[in-house]
């Protein structure tokens, strides 16, 4: 019965870690999404300098978040967002019209990751 107890303990730990990882993922995605919204707002108000500063903050936050998310999520889901983050600063500096589209795309993909990692019934089946 010692094995059964050990396995019950391992299973319980995995359940706790799974719930924790979902909540953690949700929290991190929300942080990045709010940062993306902040950049969007500044860009729409044409405050380019502040938008660039916020973009740098966003990229730093994304670099930290990426390291943690890559443990929980498949890399190909994150690689597109990586590309967008890399393009953001140059697009902002050029005052390119695609900035808004790229920000929307990043936000959407993050939202998709957050929703697909949550154990809804349609995700399980």
């Amino acid at each position: 019965m010692r094995r059964v107890k050990l396995c019950s303990l391992i299973l319980l730990s995995i359940i706790v870690l799974s719930i924790g990882s979902v909540l953690f993922l949700n929290c991190k995605c929300n942080q990045v999404l709010s940062q993306i919204s902040a950049v969007e707002v500044l860009y729409e108000k044409e405050k380019t300098a502040e938008a660039l500063e916020k973009t740098d903050e966003l990229c730093r936050l994304w670099n930290q978040t990426y390291k943690i998310l890559s443990i929980l999520v498949k890399n190909d889901k994150l690689s597109d967002i990586n590309g967008i983050m890399a393009r953001l600063r140059p697009l902002l500096e050029e005052n390119n019209e695609e900035v808004a589209a790229e920000l929307q795309s990043a936000a959407h993909q993050l939202d998709v990751i957050r929703k697909t990692e949550f154990p809804y019934l349609h995700n399980i089946f």
């Binding site: 094995r3 059964v4 019950s8 391992i10 299973l11 799974s18 443990i71 929980l72 890399n75």
Partner: protein
């Protein structure tokens, strides 16, 4: 490539841990659930090794969950007969009192060829020699022969009882196993005498097995001598 190498080592260690966690039963006869787990675990383990974009947790978590569920289920089936019947099924008798239960064979999808193949494994080539044949939950067939065809035993021949423990390996590839030597009732002085008689040291011995009655088998290492010593009385 380094990532693949490191992942392979980690998953190998994990699978060894998982197999040890499941216990020795996994290495022997498999129940249906155990067979499923074994196949699943081996398939899941390859995924993070083949594809480095998949997080390691996608391999580790399902393996641990499946193994833990299997162990817990086996613990439950140990205590509950009802669960045991649901998970493992129950043994089915296909030959009873020398008569084949054809209906049972049909239910089990067990053909005559399958039955004969199982009997041949017991060196039984005539079905009339069988009193009972049972298909176990693992699919193996257990056979009980009719009295005239059963193997004669010492008890049947009324041979005088001689209780003796089996021989123990005392030297294993040049290493002395002190506990084993004591378990057969001998000490290092006795061992030294045996080694002196055979002109070898402990390190030169590949295998020494000793029975409680003092009969031993000594095999020297090939670089010392290629000959195996016959059994001798110590």
């Amino acid at each position: 490539m380094t990532i693949v190498f490191i992942r392979a080592i980690i998953l190998y260690a994990l699978i060894i841990f998982a197999i040890r966690l499941m216990g020795k039963r996994q290495i022997g006869e498999l129940q249906p659930s155990e067979l499923v787990i074994t196949i699943l675990v081996s398939n899941i383990a390859t995924l993070p090794i083949e594809d480095t974009t998949i997080p390691m947790l996608m391999g580790i978590v399902p393996i641990l969950v499946l193994v833990c569920l299997d162990v817990i289920m086996s613990g439950i089936t140990l205590k509950s007969r009802f669960f045991r019947r649901i998970v493992s099924g129950s043994p089915k008798i296909i030959i009873r009192d020398g008569e084949i239960d054809q209906k049972q064979m049909e239910i089990l999808r067990f053909s005559i060829d399958d039955l004969m193949e199982s009997l041949h494994a017991y060196n039984i080539f005539d079905i009339s020699e069988v009193q009972f044949a049972i298909v176990e939950t693992t699919g193996q067939v257990s056979v009980y022969q009719k009295f005239p065809y059963q193997t004669v035993t010492n008890q049947g021949l009324k041979v005088c009882e001689k209780v003796q423990d089996p021989p123990a390996i005392v030297i294993d590839d040049g290493i002395l196993l002190q506990d084993a030597l004591e378990s057969v009732g001998y000490d290092t002085a006795w061992l030294a005498r045996i080694l002196a008689e055979n002109h070898v040291t402990v390190r030169e011995v590949f295998l020494l097995s000793v029975a409680p009655d003092g009969i031993y088998t000594l095999v020297k290492k090939q670089n010392v001598s290629s000959s195996e010593s016959p059994k001798r009385k110590g």
